[in-house]
């Protein structure tokens, strides 16, 4: 059910918020043992919130834009009084005394928290397998991963366990799971959405964004969460446009860039490539102009990212030392032992790997060769995009080189896992907005994702093109009903 459809039902009394919440909770109960999309379900609070919405409706009060919409929140966004774990043993029992700005805005808009979703520990991963609370499965095929790190949020939307959700995207953590789970996921421009209350992984790359079943719902959520926040110095003081208002505008004459380097990838699955190129042709049939674009530094993104992100992470995660909150190793005899054991027992191996990489990259004698060099390459990647957006309005690529891979496929191959983010990382490095939406299925019936990138703050354009595709492409009509996915 789309948000607009729901609001109409609520308005006319066809379905109450309480009934919807109960339906969602029942759905979670029936499928989440298999999926493990949720770290925590906030049933009691959801019912209370729903009752409040129903009461307000009966009292004739005007309803806010997300009234009664059941929402799932990635468990690295702080929710006041509700455990926020980052799917880590380190924060297993951490209860934030404050609310993140984005969730605060959702609740103010009438949204209902239905639960906190699973992720790769501290958002470090591309499969939601590194969670300390077990892996999440892909609703389309339980033997496959949902992608990551926002795998729980993507799977919950795909399996009908919520109406929409929030994730965070540092190198593709919204778009790649959206692609794997066949839903829409948007990473906004860096600074478009406040990071206050998002547990930091890599501060210069992290951005919160929505998952939804369709582009219109994605636009609704973005409208609510976007905008300046005085608590985040990196949030942009720019007015938020009405993203829904321009969804139906024609894309005639719009120039869409096809990045050559993306389609020349060695690891790019042929089915994915064909599907994405057909999507491009479909957009052309709607009046858009396709332009070949070259971004020579595009493929340097992954190396650059795996220096910058771990460097920032090594500092961001230094605070977890067992002194103030979170896990503390038992029976340690000295301060240095307490710090060391707390961190080696509290963090999983992927988190430790990245902290070590980052610590190394920032160390005296290496910082110039790694961290500073990576920053220079980052500038060059940005320039490639500046150049591209002088020629086109939107760039088109696959979201991921493959469809959802089998659980455990990259267990002993971290580099193979890192390559899953090859196509999504450049948008983070350049701070650009990017969206992933379903554009077809592989021979096993797994969804394929199409990535669109736009210039800084041009989310409206992304949503417009995505909506035009979604509402006209034949291939999407073959999509199964969410309820049929996980019976």
């Amino acid at each position: 059910m789309a948000i607009a459809e729901w609001l109409q039902k609520l308005k006319v009394g066809e379905l109450s918020a309480r009934e919807l919440v109960d339906q969602q909770l029942a759905r979670i109960k029936s499928v989440d043992n298999e999926l493990n999309a949720y770290v925590q379900v906030t049933a009691e609070r959801a019912r209370k919130d729903a009752d409040r919405i129903d009461k307000a409706r009966l009292a004739g009060e005007s309803l806010p834009p997300l009234a009664g919409v059941p929402l799932a929140i990635k468990d690295n966004l702080c929710t006041k009084g509700i455990r926020t774990t980052c799917s880590s043993k380190m924060l297993e029992n951490f209860v934030p005394p404050y609310e993140s700005t984005v969730t605060q805005r959702l609740w103010q808009a009438g949204g209902i928290l239905i639960g906190k979703t699973n992720l790769d520990e501290f958002a470090m991963g591309s499969s939601t397998e590194t969670s300390a609370f077990g892996a999440t499965s892909n609703p389309w095929d339980l033997s496959k991963v949902p992608g990551g790190s926002s795998g729980g949020s993507a799977a919950a939307v795909a399996a009908g366990e919520c109406m929409a959700s929030l994730g965070s995207d540092t190198g593709g953590s919204i778009r790649q799971p959206a692609s794997f789970c066949g839903v829409v996921g948007l990473k906004p421009t860096y600074g478009r959405v406040s990071r206050y209350g998002l547990v930091a992984f890599a501060s210069s790359l992290d951005q919160v964004g929505p998952f939804a079943n369709n582009v219109a719902d994605t636009a609704e959520l973005l409208k609510v969460i976007a905008g300046f926040d005085p608590l985040d110095s990196t949030s942009l003081k720019v007015p938020v446009p009405d993203y829904s208002a321009t969804l139906n505008d024609s894309i005639k004459g719009l120039r869409i860039g096809i990045i050559k380097e993306c389609f020349d990838q060695i690891g790019l699955d042929a089915e994915v490539k064909d599907s994405v190129l057909s999507a491009a042709n479909h957009l052309q049939s709607l009046g858009a102009e396709l332009v070949d674009i070259t971004c020579p530094r595009f493929n340097d993104g992954i190396a650059t990212y795996y220096v910058i992100a771990p460097s920032e992470a090594s500092a961001n995660l230094a605070r977890y030392d067992g002194v103030k909150y979170g896990f503390r190793s038992a029976n340690t005899q000295s301060l240095s032992e307490m710090t060391a054991l707390t961190r080696s027992e509290g963090f999983g191996s992927e988190v430790q790997r990245r902290i070590l990489i980052g610590t190394y990259a920032l160390s005296a004698g290496y910082v110039d060769a790694y961290y500073k060099k990576a920053q220079q390459v980052r500038t060059l990647i940005r320039r490639d995009f500046d150049n591209a957006f002088n020629q086109v309005d939107v760039l088109l690529t696959p979201t991921s080189p493959t469809t959802a891979f089998t659980s455990g496929a990259h267990e002993n191959d971290p580099l193979g896992m890192y390559l899953a983010d090859l196509l999504t990382i450049p948008a983070n490095l350049a701070g650009l907005p990017a969206i992933s939406l379903p554009c077809g299925f592989d021979q096993n019936g797994l969804p394929i994702g199409l990535q669109l990138m736009a210039n800084v703050l041009d989310e409206a354009r992304l949503l417009q093109v995505a909506h035009q595709y979604e509402s006209t492409a034949e291939v999407m009509k073959a999509r199964p009903n969410t309820a049929e996915l996980v019976p």
């Binding site: 500092a315 230094a318 605070r319």
Partner: protein, 491 residues
């Protein structure tokens, strides 16, 4: 100089941490109040809770820039914050937000007046390398014992964490302990003039670390540098430097080496002792803080802040000595604290003589202020009434002796000196008729003495003046009395 005849020279540089006196912390709205219950001035940002972000307090930037301007530093148009990483429980995030390679201000100087008993006072220009902004750390409290060594556990208080600091790094231009302490005290004075810090060393609002080495003469290469911490007064800075200079010279002369280390000043034992060796420098893995944008101070803002700077102590000292003709000593004393200088200036603005104003203010009035732990801006004796009193002395309406007598009332009770003098009839009797009539009575009363005087015993003039003073309660104008008595005795 030492026994061996080598002209040893000490090379000293100071790192001064000044707590900027903003109401709230550098990156959050938590209070900066000192001395309250542990962990009462904290919030999620101060504690570095997951997901929190720093936002720069604009007042901190203003204070830092004003401090930098007063130290003649160049203000950077663009600067940034960096993360300085090390693990310690008093540092909530295990990194300190500081400024590394692009500080807010660089390359300045101050002029320091080096005054020492028994030595000639001289001026010295001390270079300042840089000033940067950073956040303070919390404090560890070791429990279970009086001493760290026996402590069973440690507690941490984050009230101080996140208080804004300006770190001021001098160039290695200082040569003696006295120079070091005068430099530090001039920094404090400037900060207090600007009202950007209370400079309270006991409460830790101003903390100095000393870097010190000695070398064989001013041309020789630098010796091994030792850092000294834990001095909480200016005299401790001087003594610690002097102790350390001697220790290092002795070490070199007895063929030992000086190792690069951090030493603590032990105020009780009056010596420095080794705290930890600094083999190789620590790797703080600095990198730009991605949570904070660039710091931009445009020229309009710079000019606005510059225009708000007060006249600084060195300028005042020069003006008092050169334009007002005060002694270097008086100029120094008057300008030590701004309220005293302002009191002095308000007094002379009302027409009072600079020299006598200085005498009264630095003398009896300062003594009272100090004895009662007051501040000059709290005095009941306003500059207006002080000026009035000085005018009365000047014009002969009261004597200096009477002025001293009424001063304590003026200070403790306030009010106009004119009125007090009137009410108590303390004004000098300068009326010729009144005095002449009293003198005539005296001549009738003491005929023998009059005769002796006339016979040449002129010393008796003193006797008559004494009698006159007795009759007038000491208020007769002495000059006039002299004239009148001489005249009457000869009639």
């Amino acid at each position: 100089m030492s026994d061996s005849g080598v002209a040893w020279e000490a090379v000293i540089g100071l790192e001064t941490h000044v707590q900027l006196g903003t109401e709230s912390k550098i990156f959050s709205a938590a209070s900066t109040a000192f001395g309250d219950e542990p962990n009462t001035h904290i919030d999620p940002v101060v504690c570095g809770l997951p997901g929190t972000l720093p936002v720069l307090n604009r007042k901190v930037l203003e204070y830092a820039v004003k401090a930098a301007m007063a130290l003649n530093l160049n203000i950077a148009e663009h600067s940034k914050f960096d993360r300085k990483q090390y693990f310690y429980p008093d540092l909530p995030k295990n990194y300190q937000i500081s400024q590394f390679d692009e500080p807010i201000a660089e390359d300045g100087w101050i002029e320091v007046e080096i005054a020492e008993k028994g030595k000639e006072t001289y001026l010295k220009k001390i270079g300042i390398e840089r000033l940067h902004m950073e956040e303070d750390a919390g404090k560890l409290v070791h429990a279970g014992s009086d001493r760290l060594s026996g402590a069973t556990h440690s507690l941490v208080d984050y009230n101080r964490a996140g208080v804004a600091l300006a770190e001021i790094v001098s160039k290695p231009d200082l040569r003696t302990g006295r120079e070091a302490s005068e430099y530090a005290s001039e920094i404090r004075r400037i900060m207090r003039y600007l009202d950007v810090s209370d400079g309270n060393m006991q409460e830790g609002s101003l903390r100095c670390d000393v870097n010190i080495s000695v070398r064989r003469g001013s041309e020789a290469p630098f010796g091994t540098k030792v850092e000294i911490k834990n001095m909480n007064s200016f005299s401790a800075i001087q003594k610690a430097c002097e102790y350390e200079i001697n220790r290092q010279i002795k070490a070199y002369e007895s063929g030992e080496s000086v190792i690069q280390e951090t030493r603590l000043w032990d105020e009780g034992k009056q010596l420095t002792k080794s705290m930890r060796s600094k083999e190789g420098s620590s790797d703080y893995r600095y990198f730009p803080d991605p949570d904070l944008g660039p710091i931009e101070v445009n020229s309009d803002l710079r000019e606005k802040w510059r225009s708000e700077l007060p006249e600084l102590p060195a300028t005042k000292r020069h003006r008092y000595a050169n334009d007002l003709g005060l002694s270097i000593y008086d100029a120094r004393v008057l300008t030590d604290e701004l309220p005293m200088a302002e009191y002095f200036e308000a007094t002379i603005k009302l027409g009072a003589d600079a020299k006598s104003s200085a005498n009264w203010i630095t003398g009896d009035i300062a003594a009272y202020v100090n004895a009662n732990r007051l501040n000059f801006d709290q005095l009941l004796l306003s500059p207006k009434y002080l000026a009035e009193m000085l005018e009365m002395i000047q014009s002969g309406k009261i004597s200096g002796k009477i002025a001293k007598e009424i001063l304590s009332d003026l200070i403790t009770k306030g009010g106009s000196p004119k009125r007090i003098v009137e009410e108590r009839g303390l004004g000098m009797i300068s009326d010729q008729k009144v005095l002449t009539s009293i003198v005539k009575d005296l001549i009738v009363q003491y005929p023998n003495e009059v005769d002796s005087y006339k016979a040449g015993k002129t010393k008796l003039l003193g006797f008559f003046i004494g009698q006159l003073m007795k009759k007038t309660g000491g208020k007769a104008d002495p000059k006039l009395a002299n004239q009148i008595i001489t005249k009457c005795l000869l009639d």
